[in-house]
Symmetry: C2
Subunit: 330 residues, 2 copies
């Protein structure tokens, strides 16, 4: 069976050669373990940080060892109480076709409630990130204006839809005309901006947000966010969830200082990591599942077929080639 | 009698010529008014923002009209219930030797509880700014490390002392060796750094904060803050109270982008303005007064004599010529 190892720590933009496919022996399980077969694998921008050396909020990947991310797996053999052959589980797993597990950190998922891949997206880490970040930090009130960057992505598209469900005016920023059209037609955004064809982001935001910006859910950082910052209202809340535009930078990214804007408008900026909100997942997942079943939440997935295409699927995230959640089907 | 008007809107660093002394007739009061004689006048960095055109959290000063700031005045004649000749009041007043007032926004102050000028400093806006910003946003816990920039200033020196009273390790940043010595000797800071003679602020902060930075009370912005930001702990809280190093900038000040740091460490950054916390003044003032009377809080004032020296006293703030609260005695 195959496993995908970290071959090099990338400098700047990751390359295919930073990954290495290794052939390993299929593991045998002992009492208290189960054998898992990988079904779906999630590639996410935050994994870029784990490819670097040095401490962050989550341990770095080790060189010459398998990488890992959120995955859905099928139990193909079990010597572990509570898990039976044919069950499906979700959790952080290694990038291997088969692996043994003692069940720690894994959650059984129900394929009849939603498609299994949804547990990596709208009912998984990305949906929870959207929900928790928007509700817990953004605290949007009906009638307020919410701006989302990376709006067509896995997190952004859910943020926008939840904000609409809460009665907000929602403006999305994305990188192609196709995505901009999708934001309005499929996700119900009130307005959307293609940052790649927009000369002056600040003016574009001002046009799209006649009452200013109350909540900014930031997935990208960089110049897109600079434009939004110039339009924030008094008491605005900024969820700093991602900075995909900066993740591959090899020198310290520079930009306009935010402090004068924060003071002038009493703005809150909060770095957001989903792992800090785990104790609230139990209340969020049923709400997301309900919206999904009622058809109030549209979940878009880009499914790449084949374990061997995992590295390329990851690299494609940084080119914006995904629509919604990027998932590899193994 | 004299009044000080805004003569020009400054571009960059303000000049004496941006102010103009005008001779006006002493006002006569009618029923429901009192005549006030200015005693003390507060000059503060935030006034720089009000000299610009354009909306901020507080209205800009008008050209060719008197400026205003926090002042202490004596009632010299009263036709207003509740105020008698000989009373002292504190509040936002115009830069005039005499003025009529209907009492709106003014508070009687008690010269027997503390020296009158204290109501512009440790018991006034700057003390309240220190207290509210530190407690409400910083939420310091005993044993945590609190860093304060502009530490020898009116706000910073009180922030540091309150943080010590709450059991924190306190590190101050100031701009002269004399101030650094004062922070340790007079205010009880655990360590202090002269940013003007420090080559690498990030290393200096790391040395002074072996357990990292949990709370950063930022009065200055700019490169000093860049160095602190590189040392923040997980869940750090940053009170963005002032950015004196940026107030006179004529182009958008640039610096390292903060978003990756905020995400990596789940950091909160909150723009702070004292005017948002007025409903909590009533609980804060008695606490500050008690600490002051018990000798637990040292209040330093730089008192400049003479109304005619008000513009220069204001300009001196940006050169760091004050120690503690800068006040003009009229």
């Amino acid at each position: 069976m195959k496993a995908i190892h970290l071959n090099n720590r990338p400098v700047g933009t990751p390359q295919l050669s930073d990954f290495k496919f290794e052939t390993e022996e299929q593991p045998h399980i002992t009492t208290g373990e189960m054998l898992l077969k990988a079904i779906y694998l999630s590639v996410d921008p935050y994994l870029r940080g784990r490819m670097n050396e040095g401490k962050s909020y989550i341990e770095p990947f080790e060189l010459n060892k398998a990488m890992s991310s959120g995955m859905i797996a099928e139990v193909v053999e079990s010597k572990l109480d509570g898990f039976s052959k044919g069950d499906f589980v979700s959790g952080m797993l290694e990038w291997k076709e088969y692996q043994a597990s003692n069940g720690e950190g894994l959650m059984k998922v129900d394929g009849s409630m939603a498609h299994l891949s949804a547990y990596l997206g709208v009912l998984g880490m990305t949906g929870l990130t959207a929900y928790m970040g928007l509700i817990e930090i953004g605290k949007p009130k009906a009638g307020e204006t919410v701006v989302v960057s990376g709006a067509a992505g896995a997190v952004g598209s859910v943020v926008g839809q939840i904000a609409k469900l809460l009665g907000c005016r929602v403006v999305g920023i994305a990188g192609t005309d196709e995505k901009v059209a999708q934001l309005k037609a499929e996700y119900g955004f009130d307005a959307a901006i293609n940052y790649k064809t927009t000369e002056n982001m600040s003016h574009a935001i001002a046009d799209a947000c006649p009452d200013g910006v109350d909540v900014y859910f930031d997935n990208v950082g960089g110049e897109v966010s600079d434009g939004v910052m110039l339009n924030v209202n008094r008491f605005a809340r900024i969820i700093v969830c991602g900075a995909i535009s900066l993740y591959n930078a090899t020198t310290m990214p520079m930009g306009p200082r935010v402090q004068p804007i924060l003071i002038k408008n009493s703005v809150l900026m909060q770095g957001f990591i989903i792992f800090n909100y785990m104790e609230k997942f139990a209340e969020a997942i049923p709400q997301l599942a309900q919206w999904l079943q009622e058809g109030k939440l549209t979940s878009t997935e880009t499914i790449v077929e084949g374990f061997e295409n995992t590295p390329q699927a990851f690299l494609d995230l940084f080119e914006g080639r995904n629509k919604g959640k990027m998932i590899v089907k193994i």
